[in-house]
């Protein structure tokens, strides 16, 4: 069975980012999606800390100490970009102005619930950041995650066991095995990579999968 590498997963998401889209990429693997959006597409990246038009990392020595992204990495601003405060930034997120948000997740449910901010391990203090605002607000919420945990347990489930970030909000799931749409009828496979079969992927999934529409 083919399992995509992280860069291949990011590249697959990048194919579905349309020209002219306003996009928020979550911390971690989603951030790398930008590296694979082809140059003929003008995509405007949003960062929750108050940037539209996020550009690539600056050259060493040219960092602006205030110009970071949500992951606290130094970035640059593209021509046409701008700055704003937290209230305006989250108005963009919560108010449905972003076309697409791409988030990582611990778990996604068949109904489109997402859990990505806390495990049930209470040794560590919790932290939520902007995840819940993104989850409720983006017009389309894409999840980018491995299909299973390290010990091969499914991360796509009937119901999430971890604390929820948002309910009924996920539109599409990109994993290392497949692309899956969350639909009113249930989880519908949109694409299987290489020769992966529905039954192979189903075996690693904790909720029923519908076959791709022909």
């Amino acid at each position: 069975m083919l399992r995509l590498e992280p860069d291949e997963m990011a590249s697959r998401v990048a194919q579905d980012i349309p020209d002219g889209a306003y996009v928020n990429l979550g911390i971690g693997m989603p951030t790398s999606v930008a590296n694979y959006v082809s140059d003929d597409r003008e995509v405007i990246y949003h960062s929750e800390n108050g940037i539209l038009g996020v550009g690539p990392a600056p050259k060493p020595g040219e960092e602006d100490p205030d110009l970071i992204n949500a992951g606290k990495q130094f970035v640059t601003l593209l021509p046409g970009g701008c700055y704003f405060d937290n209230a305006e930034s989250f108005a963009m997120m919560r108010g449905g102005h972003l076309d697409i948000a791409v988030l990582g997740a611990f778990q996604v449910s068949a109904g489109g619930d997402i859990a990505n901010w806390a495990t049930n391990d209470d040794r560590f203090p919790p932290a939520v950041g902007g995840a819940m605002d993104l989850a409720v607000g983006a017009r389309q919420l894409f999840v980018l995650m491995r299909h299973t945990t390290r010990d091969n347990q499914p991360k796509i489930l009937e119901r999430c066991s971890y604390p929820l970030t948002g309910t009924g909000v996920v539109k599409r799931i990109y994993t290392d095995l497949a692309v899956i749409d969350v639909t009113p009828e249930g989880l519908r496979v949109r694409e299987l990579y290489a020769d992966n079969t529905l039954s192979e992927v189903q075996a690693l999934t904790g909720a029923p999968l519908l076959a791709p529409e022909s």
Partner: protein, 227 residues
């Protein structure tokens, strides 16, 4: 390449439909999208709900929409100004519905829609006629009125400069409701005095980020001036 500029006022308003809720920026004569309003009048959509601070004076702006009887309902804070003869006439005839909203509540309801909030508690109007029939709540000993978000189908706004991404700057006190309405409508259409290239507006000085703007139209006299 992203280019939000439309080539005419007429085409920019052509899909506004009968019954639409239309926000119109401006305060008195300041920051009003007069050319977009005139294009909407010529377009002729009817049964409109107009959300705007004022209701126009003489035959200008919103007053011309009223005169042509295109408006079913006005939502505003100060419909009665010196010269607001068309609003007064229709009101007296019972030919128009009025929802009177305190000015700060009007702006905040528009902002709430743009910011994805469902509603808010404001002290404004508590204990007055304008809170009658509304839910109230005492928070930390102070009385508040529950007000709900107010979205729109279309916002017609005016700015000073735009770039092709729809980033906007304004002239002096011409901001008023314009930046808020830009956030709150499904389709935001802006008339501007000039259009510049992407990157020509200082990112620190942009007031309305382009994400809130769908269509940019140059004012017609400016088009002539540039031709």
């Amino acid at each position: 390449m992203i280019n939000k500029q439309w080539d005419s006022l007429k085409s920019a308003v052509a899909d506004i439909r009968d019954g639409d809720v239309v926000m119109i920026g401006g305060f008195g004569s300041s920051g009003i999208p007069l050319q977009l309003i005139e294009a909407l009048r010529q377009h002729g959509a009817r049964e409109l709900t107009i959300i705007s601070n004022n209701a126009g004076v003489r035959e200008e702006g919103i007053a011309a929409l009223l005169r042509d009887r295109l408006v079913r309902k006005m939502v505003c804070s100060f419909p009665r100004s010196a010269g607001s003869v068309w609003f007064e006439r229709l009101y007296e005839e019972g030919a128009i519905e009025l929802e009177l909203v305190p000015q700060g509540t009007l702006g905040e309801r528009i902002r709430a829609a743009g910011a994805g909030l469902g509603g808010f508690y404001t002290p404004t109007g508590y204990g007055t006629q304008l809170a009658e029939g509304k839910e109230t709540r005492v928070i930390d000993g102070k009385g508040y009125v529950l007000e709900f978000a107010m979205p729109a189908d279309v916002a017609l706004i005016r700015a000073d400069k735009a770039d092709l991404w729809g980033n906007l700057t304004y002239n002096t006190a011409g901001r008023n409701f314009n930046p808020l309405m830009a956030m709150a409508a499904r389709t935001t259409i802006v008339e501007v005095a000039s259009v510049v290239g992407v990157g020509e507006l200082d990112p620190e000085h942009i007031v309305t980020p382009g994400i809130f703007v769908n269509r940019v139209v140059l004012q017609e006299d400016r088009q002539h001036a540039a031709a």
